[in-house]
Assembly symmetry: C2
Homo-oligomer: 457 residues x 2
């Protein structure tokens, strides 16, 4: 019997090897895409508005008053089931505490002013008003210190706000590096203060194109990228479509979505510790990983299939929006804390969390932002671009509680020039809020590797 | 090569046959369950309150005023993407129309009075106040006409209200049958006007026990059941645990959840038309069925994993609750109409839909009701009871757009005494609202078969 199984497995392995070699390794051609695709309702003018307009974040009194009235007027929650903390979802006793803080203690004016310590702008790209922070190094610096442009890209439910804790450190020269950054932190279209579209198809490939055109508008023909979450998808696509323009791609959510990578991860489950001795427990046994993914991906499933429903449902309730968003921000910061009241949220600064939710609320971006989950599938260019490796030098930073983890031998399918990979036993998905110092250190160290990579060529 | 594959398939088939025969057909013992399990926060008294209290449904002024204020105070929705109807979820232009109707035209008082045309009661079962309608035949009838007790069980997001269109017909004698029904339509605990629990574990098996004890309280030691959705799960478990008490089980959502049934459905995908020539397109090709299930099960995934999050999120917004519930009521009535503005909802009477949502809102049952999706998994008794066939005579009524479909050769795994099976090419999940006449006709015809079945024994 055992012999028979061995023979069957061997036959299957040979067939699989054949399939992998002949089909999965095939690299498609770069698709022909319109890099000036128009996303506005209005007709494209013959001469486009290329102006750059200074912008200030404002949590205006009307919005704040209405928000506070809604918070005051909330209905009582059902309490958690006996003996449960966050196993059935957000703990409503904890939620009450946060809502009370938002209502009574959160400093709307002060928090907006804090965000305004950076220079904000808006400019029109492909028909959409795109908001971004552009922060140059402020401090006096030696002439030998180069200023390098870096684009920071956030994901859901964030905005450029996510990066406020790391921008000062990125724009401050350090004694251990001969370069410093000029930072552009943009809100993805439909997020934060960037305009959403009414046209279907604004997927991460198309968002990447908009972000590249933003950088061109700002005069940056070559630049670095740091990105996580959906921003990392956009950044990965930018690296694939514009390899001559992206000097290096640093990501705290490194993922290869090539078909071969999925097959390898599946096969890897047969020999987990051999393939990734140190960190195999982050994905293997696959059964545990899948259990966790199923437990935590309900919001993803809903947003990828019915974004307009959950968008409409959360449109007029700051209470609901906060409950829905905070549950996810907590879990993604530490998925092993569902047995606590805060379910991981206490790893983040509560003012940072409330900034994020207040920005989402004030700009009424819940529907436009969750649509990215639906647009992130089913458009033909996505599968094609995912399956093309990029030669752009790449650095992977794996925090402990990042949503997914792929070992380097899988990442290299997409990023053959993976020049640096760091795996930490702490931290989570919202790295710039959770572990800003470690993130900044890794960006500096990685860009040094990117420079070396280009010097070697 | 083809020969090799044939040999491999044959070997796998033999192994599978062995596994199926020896493991999957095995019937577990009925688990020992506490049929008086206590679900209240309060300590069980030495003498339980067994009183039956008349009850009236009231949409009181305070509730209605607050609800209307919230509806008036709603924020604007994002419009659907260009060219889309309901492909991204609820169509917010249509949603606006329904919300305006709810605010300006829905007759709160009149609708409550309509529900009060039936006699309503509450009684305390296992510590929880359970609400039900008990409707005896009103009209004069011949002495030869027997009165048979039938329990009607609804699912999410419904309540006993779901049955108001069929109760009059079930309690009216017909010339073609020598029996008529005394109807008990109960709200499941945590739904409608029935109290929810604060204890974990109130799954469909436990709900079935409560419903059986309700019927005992009302003096019905033997009775029929008609049920759909989660009510059908509870009804199936009642048939399994109390086969001597359930005279027949009529369901418009017939499902066998035995392991062997899943295996058979999977294998059936190899020869779909041979196994179910008429209706194979309702599940095969499995790829299409899975696509539809993935497209429509985001809410299920979320509710099964994070019920307290979506519950908290919808607690204070009638707008959100309506959007979220209506999308599902529409799709489940006709899943092929996502390319319309109403997405299937126009198949139902809008007052029926708004009764359902108003009851959910007024009783603040969103969290307790969605918890059934989480409780419906992971408790050991569920898998055991699912895997025990019941000898209770059963009738299956398959409407065209029911969420799932299983051919009779699969249903018989769980219901060997499937005495009637009807498959219609119209209708949907909310049968008693959508196609009340056909549902009632099938109940009468099925109960006649149940009676014949018992006479033959």
């Amino acid at each position: 019997m055992f012999k028979l199984i061995t023979i069957i497995v061997a036959i299957i392995a040979v067939i699989l090897g054949f399939v992998i070699n002949h089909y999965l390794q095939r690299v498609p051609d770069v698709p022909k895409l319109d890099y000036q695709r128009w996303w506005s309702d209005s007709v494209r003018p013959s001469v486009e508005d290329e102006s750059i307009r200074p912008f200030k974040i404002e949590f205006n009194d009307t919005m704040v008053l209405d928000l506070k009235n809604r918070l005051k007027n909330r209905r009582p929650f059902r309490r958690p089931l006996d003996g449960m903390q966050s196993e059935y979802g957000i703990n409503t006793i904890y939620l009450e505490k946060i809502l009370d803080y938002w209502l009574k203690k959160y400093d709307f004016k002060g928090r907006a002013e804090r965000l305004n310590s950076f220079p904000h702008y808006k400019t029109r790209i492909q028909g959409l008003d795109i908001h971004y922070i552009r922060a140059a190094p402020k401090k006096q610096r030696a002439k030998t210190v180069k200023v390098l442009p870096i684009l920071l890209l956030h994901g859901w439910p964030s905005s450029s706000k996510e990066f406020d804790s790391i921008i000062p450190a990125l724009t401050t020269p350090r004694s251990d590096y001969d370069f410093v950054f000029e930072v552009v932190a943009a809100d993805l279209p439909g997020f934060g203060y960037s305009e959403g579209t009414n046209k279907p198809g604004l997927n991460p490939v198309q968002i990447g194109i908009i972000m590249r055109n933003l950088m061109k508008r700002l005069g940056f023909d070559k630049f670095y990228i740091q990105a996580g979450d959906w921003g990392a998808q956009a950044g990965s696509h930018m690296s694939t479509l514009f390899p001559e323009e992206i000097l290096g791609f640093h990501t705290n959510m490194p993922v290869s979505s090539r078909t071969i990578s999925s097959v390898k991860l599946l096969l890897g489950s047969l020999f987990p510790s051999w393939l990734d001795p140190k960190h195999s427990e982050r994905i293997y046994p696959l059964k545990n990983f899948m259990k966790y993914i199923i437990r935590e991906s309900g919001y993803f499933h809903l947003q990828a299939t019915k974004p307009d429903t959950i968008g409409a449902a959360l449109t007029d309730t700051p209470v609901g929006m906060a409950a829905y968003i905070m549950e996810k921000m907590g879990i993604c910061s530490n998925r092993d804390q569902v047995n606590t009241e805060h379910s991981g949220l206490a790893n983040l600064n509560i003012d940072d969390v409330l900034d994020t939710i207040t920005i989402m609320w004030a700009n009424e971006q819940i529907t436009t932002s969750v649509r990215i989950y639906a647009e992130g599938f089913n458009w033909p260019e996505l599968g094609i671009v995912h399956n093309i490796p990029t030669m752009v030098p790449t650095a992977a930073l794996n925090f402990r509680y990042e949503v997914v983890y792929q070992p380097d031998w899988v990442l290299r399918d997409k990023f053959p020039n993976l020049v640096r990979s760091t795996t930490l036993d702490f931290g989570g998905h919202f790295a710039s809020m959770h572990t800003p110092k470690e993130l900044v250190d890794d960006i500096f160290a990685s860009v040094k590797e990117f420079i070396k990579f280009h010097e070697k060529k």
